[in-house]
Symmetry: C2
Subunit: 250 residues, 2 copies
DNA sequence: GCTCATTTGTTCGTATGTATC
DNA sequence: TGATACATACGAACAAATGAG
């Protein structure tokens, strides 16, 4: 009677479909970090045997997660956990164009300073942490053909990003922040929100951008989310839009 | 099963899967307007019989179009063509919030003027029409609690929107432009692009918004697309962001 | 360059459940 | 209640891509 020895069996319990329960189960493995971005998940056959469901049901569960962007499949190889990279285009913060049919410019990043700061309003509340929890503050400049176009200040919860300040700072130049965070902490960026306004730059921003305080800039507040809409970064950025404008696509 | 006798409709022609061909076929019916937004498409059974494919293949084709947002299904009723409305949240141009956790404000629309104008650069090129084709120009003001916050100028190709100027102008107050266009011309909005910058308002915009020319505003250029990424509207808008900021979500 | 085991992709079809009107 | 339409679950058979040997 190997029936008693069978692992977590997905029995037929009407209201919630079997494929949906399997789907959520795999999703939890991803979110909890047991399945890291880029790693391969069990094959269809293995899932069929582990959970005692049919191949069709396994396919449906997996394909749903593929459609939702959590997994991708390669015929002949297997099924893998999606990292942020596959959604990159829609998640890039600064996409600068001269016009709709102009070409997109590549920005260079220069980290200025990374330090620990106390929590403050509204960052702590937006990040969903207590106001007495400390934060990392990361200041950066984004350069377009050598001249500064974006000045950005990011706040990250210290409890999520332990020892972030021991991270070699030139790594922040080589890759986007979200890529570094995904690699080091296994937190892919799933979605983000922005509040955009036109304003004059703060003194600090004007200095960093090398412009007078009388030039209007885009002031962008941003919140980045990982799995389950958990916020992990709050950012404030000042963007110079004299030559190129910020491009957004839906 | 008896595989020697094939009902030759969508025959087995390897490189392109059958479900994909069926999917494209239905999509073309939608795009050409033969299937209007909101109308019901043939049932699974009818598709099975019309095209001589299995129910599983039909399901796959239809579900793909559902995932892509072109169709929606109601169990027991049928499968229907999606209008713009179902994607509304992500396609709303002006979403104004005080802060990330503030509540979204509702804007009132006031049409100012609708007239025919000659084509011009860059509108004609962006709309994919010849420069000598005339355009409709629609100027509107968006009000927040009675005071103007957005001044917007839209350009629409006259060949796509015949007799738009005979449309009762108070209809533009009752519903968003895209809703009126979908209803009258059967063109749902599928995606859009924006270029955002910070600037001082033009004289015209400053007057319409009732602000001095020294107040920075968001200058937003927008292109709206219908099926197959066909552009149908080019818009320029000036948005006052003193109190509330433009909200974007990805 | 070829073969083979593995893995996903496609197509077929049946049976039954559930929602709608 | 019955007829209709979509949803779930099952699974077989074969095709196509991958990577190792």
């Amino acid at each position: 009677m190997n029936r008693s020895r069978r692992p977590a069996r997905l029995t037929h319990h009407p209201p919630i479909p079997v494929y949906y329960r399997l789907q959520e189960l795999v999703l939890k493995e991803i979110e909890s970090g047991k399945l890291q971005p880029g790693s391969m998940i069990p094959t269809e056959r293995q899932l069929v045997e582990s959970y005692g469901v049919s191949i069709g049901t396994v396919k449906k569960a997996i394909l749903n997660l593929v459609h939702q962007g959590f997994l991708y499949r390669i015929q002949g190889k297997g099924t893998f956990v999606t990292g942020t990279t596959l959604r990159r285009e829609s998640l890039r913060y600064y996409r600068l164009l001269e016009s709709f049919d102009g070409i997109e410019s590549n920005l260079a990043v220069k980290p200025l300073q990374l330090k620990r700061v106390p929590g403050f309003h509204p960052a702590s509340r937006l990040l969903g942490i207590r106001a007495d929890q400390p934060l990392f503050e990361l200041k950066r400049i984004f350069l377009l053909e050598g001249s500064p176009v974006v000045y950005s200040i990011s706040y990250l919860p210290q409890n999520l990003f332990k020892r972030l300040d021991e991270y070699p700072s030139d790594e922040f130049e080589k890759k986007p922040l979200y890529a570094a965070i995904e690699e080091k902490y296994g937190l892919p960026t799933i979605s983000n929100r922005e509040l955009i306004s036109a304003a004059f730059p703060s003194r600090e921003a004007a200095e960093a951008l090398g412009i007078p305080k009388t030039v209007p800039v885009l002031y962008m507040e941003m919140l980045a989310f990982t799995y389950r809409k958990r916020p992990y970064e709050y950012r404030r950025a000042y963007c110079l839009t004299a030559e190129r404008k910020v491009f957004r696509e839906y």
